[in-house]
């Protein structure tokens, strides 16, 4: 059963991908969707067995490669963390599969699309069920590949190709860090099995490792390298640039990969490696700082974006920041809880956005929307539920995790805790602002839509509406239902899946923080909503004038252009890398080494040199006299400095000169022959 959970999506993908033309649209849809749905039902059984009944299990499938000290196996490990991820992945994936039937129904490449969605699900399941780092890395790279294929689904679009290559390249930077981290783990622990590594981590907590010729605390170094991987995959500040561009893919892809599942792989990995991170406090500090900064950066950028999907994408990055910083504050369970909640409401938001885009003839710009609340009442209701859950409206899903995150950050009383709390609290206001701005501009403001779009506007058909309904239920109830189970004080739910050092746990203290601090997120949410109303509905002139002042315009540009991160990366990194790749590595090293050091280069240079030297024979005596004088001076210098020069002049050079002359003569002879011939 456990293996079937992983295998079914692979089978679906295999048949719809390779036999798509044979099974047709209907066959491909049925195969993939039923595979993933079955996988979801089996995941529910696994959740009951593993998480609720507390029976974790391991499956050793087969050896992968065995060489002396290093053994890698195909093995699967099901504990609470895994099954929570299984439920999230398979449920969202099933709903996205069903939604895609409607959304992509008009696309001539539907079987390929369904194949990619299923292969993504398979790789994601491999990632979360792995019992060793190598297999996790396999899944990690696999989801990267699936993400590339899906962003580039409309491969005839230049923007889509660019976005997918960008996603691939930026993720490679992160994966490089992750691979180094895995190698470092092997060099310290001599194994890559999760169980062994995590069991040994307390005993090797003080080990040192030499990395780049410098000695570091081993676990800090390992955790930071692993975190680089998480930064790439979870779009944290620095390697975040790919996520907004990935919105080039179809909307169901954005919902499944770039909101609910793949981007949370980094958070999952940090949670999975909690026994390592707990013994690396400095790494935790970096994690929490970077998470908080990402949260702030993405939220500010989301404020002024005009593309519907981009606003939600920045919101995703911001929420990922919350998850990462709470992991950095050692509350992995809260991070995973927010991950699960976020998956539901963000998938709902994305799919509702897709529904709006679909209804408005693929219009994505919010400036050309508005007033469709009466035409799309169902989608509006769904979007409202998603947005309210996102901003942490009381008793909806986001409320239970977001408030706990902020309370935990407040109760830490450390530098990283205070920093995260400060930025996190400001972000609550921003989150509320952009969520309500999205609602107002899309549905409630007077319409700016094209007449042609309005004429054909229609609410989502049942096949698209059904997943939305289920996700809406999830967005309303999941937080309430799972709160005590997952983050309740002293809950046995996680058993050995997550490890927190007792000194780092402040869940109890967070219950006793001042009441004003507990109400602050709610007040911020209200203030954000009010500001969004003022700026986008009631006082449009005031907001317009504010925007058109010099300072306003500059700030708008700065935020709209994502703090100029892309420009800096392009101008200072990409461009130089491209120049290096072309001028140095291709023209000079690859092509140049053959041309310059090879026969033709030597032959040409000697001819040129011969011609150049022949100019010395000018027929003027004083020229010759100068040359003779210089010759004698050089001769005397060389003889007197011979002891020193002897070391510098290598005998092997003579051989190179000899060979060069041979080729020179050969080339000259050939040339003479050809002239004669």
């Amino acid at each position: 059963m456990y293996l079937l959970i992983i295998l079914l999506p692979l089978l679906g993908s295999f048949f719809s991908g390779l036999f798509g033309r044979f099974v047709g649209f209907r066959g491909a849809v049925l195969l993939t969707t039923s595979g993933v749905l079955l996988s979801f039902f089996l995941s529910c059984v696994a959740f009951y067995e593993v998480a609720l009944q507390g029976s974790s299990c391991t499956i050793e499938l087969s050896p992968w490669f065995v060489s002396e000290l290093f053994d890698a196996t195909w093995g699967f490990y099901f504990d609470s963390l895994t099954v929570v991820m299984l439920i999230v992945i398979t449920s969202i994936s099933s709903l996205v599969h069903i939604y895609s039937i409607g959304y992509m129904g008009q696309d001539p490449h539907l079987p390929r699309f369904m194949c990619y969605l299923s292969i993504f699900t398979f790789f994601m399941l491999m990632l979360v069920t792995a019992d060793n780092f190598i297999q996790m890395f396999f899944g990690w790279e696999g989801v990267g590949l699936a993400s590339y294929l899906l962003i580039n689904f409309w491969f005839t679009r230049l923007q889509a190709s660019k976005a997918s290559i960008k996603a691939m390249l930026v993720n490679r930077v992160g994966d490089f860090g992750l691979a180094l981290g895995i190698m470092a783990i092997f060099s310290v622990f001599k194994t890559l099995d999760f169980s062994t590594v995590f069991a040994l981590s307390p005993y090797l907590a003080d080990t040192q490792i030499v990395f780049c010729n410098l000695e570091f605390h081993a676990l800090t170094c390992i955790c930071l390298l692993l975190f680089v991987g998480a930064v790439g995959k979870s779009a944290q500040l620095g390697l975040h640039t790919w996520l907004p561009d990935a919105m080039e893919g179809p909307t169901p892809v954005s919902a499944l990969i770039h909101a609910a599942t793949m981007v949370t792989a980094g958070v999952f990995m940090i949670a999975r490696c909690s026994p390592l991170f707990e013994y690396a406090p400095k790494a935790l500090l970096v994690v929490s700082f970077l998470g908080a900064m990402t949260c702030f950066f993405a939220a500010t950028t989301g404020l002024v974006q005009n593309d519907l999907k981009r606003v939600i994408a920045y919101s995703t990055a911001s929420q990922l920041g919350y998850m990462v910083f709470v992991c950095g504050l050692s509350h992995y369970s809260v991070g995973v809880f927010h991950l699960m909640n976020h998956a539901f409401f963000k998938a709902l938001l994305f799919l509702s956005a897709g529904s709006v885009i679909h209804a408005l003839a693929d219009e994505q710009d919010m400036r050309k929307m508005g007033g469709v609340v009466q035409l799309l009442p169902f989608t509006y209701a769904m979007m409202c539920i998603g947005s309210f859950a996102l901003v942490g409206f009381p008793f909806l899903t986001g409320f239970y995790s977001k408030d706990v995150i902020l309370e935990v950050a407040y109760a830490r009383y450390t530098l990283s805790g205070n920093f995260a709390y400060l930025l996190g609290s400001i972000c609550v206001l921003f989150t509320s602002y952009y969520s309500f701005r999205l609602l107002f501009l899309t549905f409630l403001a007077p319409t700016a839509t094209f007449k042609s779009s309005l004429k054909t506007v229609h609410d989502a058909p049942f096949i698209m509406a059904f997943p939305l309904m289920l996700l809406a239920l999830g967005s309303i109830f999941v937080g309430y239902l799972a709160r005590d189970m997952m983050i309740g004080l002293g809950t046995p739910f996680w058993s050995n899946a997550l490890f927190v050092l007792p000194k780092n746990s402040v869940l109890l203290e967070s219950e006793f923080i001042p009441q004003t601090q507990k109400f602050l997120p709610l007040i911020s949410t209200g203030a954000g909503a009010a500001l969004a109303y003022i700026f986008n509905i009631s006082q449009v002139w005031a907001s317009y004038r504010l925007k058109m002042t010099n300072a306003g315009k500059n700030l708008y540009r700065f935020l709209n252009k994502r703090w100029f991160f892309d420009k800096v990366y392009n101008d200072f990194i990409s461009e130089n890398a491209l120049k290096f790749g072309y001028t140095i590595s291709f023209k000079t090293l690859d092509k140049g080494s053959f041309e310059i050091l090879g026969p033709s280069g030597i032959a040409h240079s000697f001819i040129n040199m011969g011609q150049y030297i022949s100019r010395l024979q000018s027929g003027l005596v004083y020229h010759y006299a100068v040359v003779m004088l210089l010759g004698i001076v050089i001769l005397i210098t060389v003889i007197s400095l011979w002891e020193f020069l002897e070391i510098l002049l290598d005998n092997r050079f003579y051989f190179v000169y000899l060979i060069s002359f041979l080729f020179y003569n050969y080339y000259s002879i050939k040339k003479t022959h050809s002239v004669d011939g």
Partner: protein
């Protein structure tokens, strides 16, 4: 006397100013008022007939447009740069696509 090139530049400037304003002013009431203001500014200079003065006014206008350029201008989905542009190139007319899951004929 205005030259043909200047005339074209003026039209171009007016059109682009309006388009740019459409990206800044999201609400129509704001856009209409701003569009009227832009029109007024153009009308004020309508009577200019000295080529040098016209040239100066055009340069001023173009510089202002550059200065006010929206960082994320609105693009119609099916135009280059839009979200639908080059999504699925049209098939050869002889190719028939089954979109209703192969059940069209049933």
């Amino acid at each position: 006397m205005v030259s043909a090139v200047q005339r074209l530049r003026a039209i171009h400037l007016y059109r682009h100013s309006l388009k740019n304003m459409l990206s800044w002013a999201v609400r129509r009431e704001v856009f209409y008022a701003e569009a009227e203001r832009i029109r007024g500014e153009f009308d004020q200079l309508k009577t200019l007939d000295d080529p040098i003065q016209i040239e100066r006014a055009l340069e001023r206008g173009e510089a202002r447009l550059r200065d006010h350029q929206h960082p994320d201008p609105y693009i119609v989905p099916y135009r280059p740069g839009g979200s639908m542009y080059a999504r699925n190139p049209p098939f050869d007319p002889s190719v028939h696509i089954h979109l209703d899951f192969g059940r069209e004929g049933h």
